[in-house]
């Protein structure tokens, strides 16, 4: 009964393929959330997707991670076509994400939430776990160590045995990030990772994200409203508005793009916002 | 730990052989009844009647100088409770003058016949319990009742060869055993049976009546609960299908005569039973009715009382027999009962217990609802046996 042995683990990290989004369109009853959006995430780069509320950023993530079906268009992750795959198959390809509205099991300990991230990397099925085969035990042991590592890296080690619901909002966000990292992803999708943090917490989290990129050399797609963080981390920015792409390019350019200013930043305060969270 | 064995009781009273919980002073009997489940109606009357009987018996000195002592367990028609209750009482008692719920009796059949061998009198008349020396029903089984019913319909010119008759019956042994009878008899009489199987949760018989009406039946047999027969008779009358409705055993309760269905029931309903009704003028029933009402004031009189009383009486007679044979054990009781060839308990029918494979009688009375009589029943035709029963062998 190895009911869910991971389908595809041909993902030795390093040769991270590039992510190609082509003419992605998502329609819901009555509105078009994404309208022929295209962008490419170069291997190992950090690509930010920004835009006003309701622009379609999370919807885009939902398609990339298989939660929504695309009405039209394609998403290629290296050789694999993601559109139309169920979420767990996409996860098996090494795509991990965090959720904008926290999606953690409230009563499970942080440690367990992180271990869930290891699901696709582990094999123990009902029989192995039920009969407590030594193989399963060894496996669990090895992965617990790695979870510990990642917890330390994200600064969660103090909370490993706390139920997630008892943690303040900001920390829960961090747990989500940790859980995604535990999937040893090749592509990491972060939906507003620093929302609800004070600026030095933001700085710390930003450092973590940067560290991930340096350490693992994986691609990251970042949705964030904190321009400070975006400016600091992004190599490339795509701006959506009403589901359409209105601009893309390196952060500095995009930030000056009048369209973007009009639709998203608002000229009054972008300087101030830009200051926020900037370091080094 | 006691091993359900013949250890209980000393070898008192001369050479009297005792065992199975019988002591120098008491004869313990078990009662497995249902006073909270679907057969609560029956269970209450039977149990109270049996308690009354034993009280009188003990007041007259009991049996073999011993008092008979009933231990009652109410299983509420829950199989697991029933099994547990039997398991609990079996080691302690000589036998069971009452065991309601033939599925449970059937469930224990193996143990009763195999190891325990204590006399059990089920308050269920399904033929599939026949053929055991230890499980003995009193009265005709459901199938015989229905054979008689069909025979009576024919000879009283209510149906004739070639006609169709409907049979509405409960899923389960009661209904399906009755159906076996009606089908057999119908074949014999050249009739066709239109089957309508129902469940206790079906309380509105409109659809059934519609179907039977479509089939143009000339009479309807029913082996179900009181609610169903009331609904059936009522609807049939209302849907101008004015045919006789003939039920057997628990299909009628006097309470029905207080309901909407009363007129229809009084007009079209008949009822087969192998005892006189409690409301009968005959000495047996009348006396019982009197003493019972005296003991349990305000409690309704129904035929469950007679059934309970009769069972208690038969058991007592068997005990006396066993006492005479100086063998007051399960074996002794069984033997004694087998030797009772013509037993008349005063309810109008003679029973013969010598053949475990056959019911103690094949006779039935035809009764009718009667709002004046006690228990709401009066005899419409005295006991008879359909000629057809000769060729019939119950599948057991």
């Amino acid at each position: 009964m190895t009911e869910d042995a991971p389908e595809k683990t041909a993902d030795a990290p390093g040769q991270t393929p590039s992510l190609e989004v082509r003419d992605l369109t998502v329609r819901f009853a009555g509105l078009t959330a994404l309208d022929a959006v295209s962008f490419t995430v170069a291997p190992g780069s950090l690509h930010a997707v920004i835009g006003p509320n309701g622009a379609g950023k999370s919807t885009c993530f939902n398609v990339l991670s298989g939660v929504y079906r695309a009405s039209a268009g394609h998403v290629h992750f290296g050789p694999d076509e993601l559109t139309g795959l169920p979420p767990h198959r996409i996860a098996a390809l090494g795509v991990a994400r965090t959720f904008q509205n926290i999606a953690l099991p409230p009563y499970a300990t942080v440690a367990d939430s992180l271990m869930l991230g290891r699901h696709r990397l582990t094999k123990a099925g009902f029989l192995a776990a039920g009969l407590r085969l030594p193989s399963a035990a060894r496996e669990a042991e090895r992965h617990r160590e790695r979870v510990q590592e990642i917890a330390e890296f994200t600064g969660l080690e103090r909370y490993l045995d706390h139920p997630a619901a008892a943690l303040p909002y900001g920390l829960q966000k961090l747990v989500e990030l940790g859980r995604a990292l535990c999937m040893e992803p090749r592509l990491l999708l972060l939906d507003e990772p620093v929302a609800g943090m004070t600026s030095d917490e933001r700085r710390r989290t930003a450092a973590v994200i940067a560290g991930v990129r340096e350490g693992l050399g994986i691609s990251v797609v970042l949705v964030e409203h904190d321009m400070g963080v975006v400016m600091r981390l992004a190599d490339e920015v795509t701006v959506l508005d009403f589901g359409r792409r209105i601009a893309s390019g390196p952060p500095a350019e995009v930030q000056r793009d009048p369209e973007v200013v009009r639709a998203y930043l608002g000229d009054t305060n972008n300087s101030e916002d830009a200051e926020e969270g900037v370091t080094s | 730990k006691d091993d359900d064995g013949d250890t209980g009781g000393g070898k008192g009273a001369g050479a009297l052989k005792t065992g199975d919980g019988v002591t120098a002073t008491t004869i313990p009997l078990g009662v497995l009844t249902d006073m909270t489940g679907v057969y609560a109606t029956l269970g209450k009357s039977v149990t109270q009647a049996q308690q009354l009987y034993m009280k009188q018996l003990n007041d007259d000195g009991g049996i073999c100088g011993r008092k008979v002592q009933l231990t009652i367990r109410d299983h509420g028609y829950d199989p697991r409770k029933a099994v547990s209750a039997y398991t609990e009482l079996e080691p302690k008692v000589l036998g069971f003058p009452q065991f309601i719920g033939s599925p449970f009796v059937a469930a224990q059949k193996k143990r009763i016949d195999g190891t325990d061998k204590g006399l059990v009198i089920p308050q269920a008349w399904s033929a599939n319990l026949l053929g055991s020396e230890s499980i003995r029903q009193i009265g005709a089984t459901y199938d015989y009742e229905m054979i008689n019913a069909v025979d009576w319909l024919v000879k009283s010119k209510k149906v004739k060869s070639g006609d169709k008759i409907g049979h509405v019956y409960f899923e389960g042994d009661f209904g399906e055993n009755a159906l076996a009878g009606s089908k057999y008899a119908a074949d014999e009489a050249g009739l066709e049976v239109v089957e309508q199987k129902i469940k206790p949760t079906d309380q509105d018989m409109t659809a059934q009546v519609t179907a039977l009406k479509k089939a143009k039946v000339k009479a309807i047999l029913i082996s179900a609960g009181p609610a169903q027969s009331a609904s059936l008779t009522g609807v049939a009358a209302a849907a101008n299908l004015p045919v006789p409705v003939v039920g057997n055993n628990p299909t009628f309760a006097p309470q029905l005569l207080k309901t909407q269905a009363a007129p229809a029931l009084l007009k079209n309903f008949y009822f087969l039973a192998s005892t006189l009704p409690i409301g009968d003028k005959g000495s047996g029933p009348a006396e019982l009715a009197k003493t019972y009402s005296a003991e349990y004031k305000g409690d309704l009189l129904d035929n469950g009382i007679i059934a309970g009383w009769a069972a208690a009486d038969v058991f007592a007679k068997a005990l006396e027999g066993a006492c005479k044979d100086k063998n007051l054990t399960r074996e002794g009781v069984r033997k004694a009962l087998l030797s009772m060839k013509s037993y008349e308990e005063g309810f109008g029918i003679t029973h013969d217990f010598s053949d475990p494979a056959a019911p103690s009688t094949k006779e039935s009375y035809v009764l009718r609802p009667d709002d004046k009589a006690k228990g709401g029943m009066a005899v419409a035709e005295k006991a008879f046996t359909a000629p057809a029963v000769e060729g019939y062998t119950p599948e057991g």
Binding site: L167, M197, T198, G266, E272 | -
Partner: protein, 266 residues
Amino acid sequence: MPHAALQVGALTAGYGPVRALREVTLTVGDGAVVAVLGGNGAGKTTLLRAISRTLGFHGGAVAGGEISFGETRLDRLAAPEVVAAGVVQVPEGRRVFARMTVADNLRAGALGAPRGSRSVSLERVHDLFPVLLERAAQPAGLLSGGEQQMLALARGLMAQPKLLLLDEPTLGLAPLAAERIAERIREINRQGTSVLLVEQNAAIALRVASEAYVLETGRVALSGPAAELAASDEVRRRYLGVVDEDAAADAERIADAAPVLRRWQP
């Protein structure tokens, strides 16, 4: 409307063994906008829960101190009565009624308000957030994060509060939208509603607020006129993220201190 101020005196509250608030004292003068800053777990949300009497829903309780709004002692009331008293909270994390339509969410918000005035406040929130009118018939659960945030805010306004408690109202809002919220808060305030504003976006919070408090692990660490606080280094560095040298160095240290994650060899 009757003049009333929120008084929180020596409030101590927590969850089972956890003390989330210790001896917190704070005042929201009538018609004032007061900001509460603080890091994760500082106790900001707990403070609002204590005022709205919803700690019970989280296995928490007030252990000491008192809360009064004008004459009424809030800490003796049940949550709905607090609303009736005119103190309305817009909770952290939106908490919109996902399966109800946007319109019904707004009606739910108005349950606490006097009947007649509903249509008025409905218009107000609609021109505040036009998107809510477009989406009136859509299940709230299907709105985008930010749209849900707007709905939550609008729902709170429907009750026409005397005192509005906002828990991170700009969370997940685009800069422009956040700005608009800030303006609206001022506007609402001008119309006579006092506001207690818990906000991570200190820049906005301090701009909107007249006074501000800084909570750290359940204690009031700093408090005073917003302008003064905005000037203090501590606040500038930790909450405004404005970088001066040592802060930069400090940040560097953090960055280095943050252990790097090495690849996992299966």
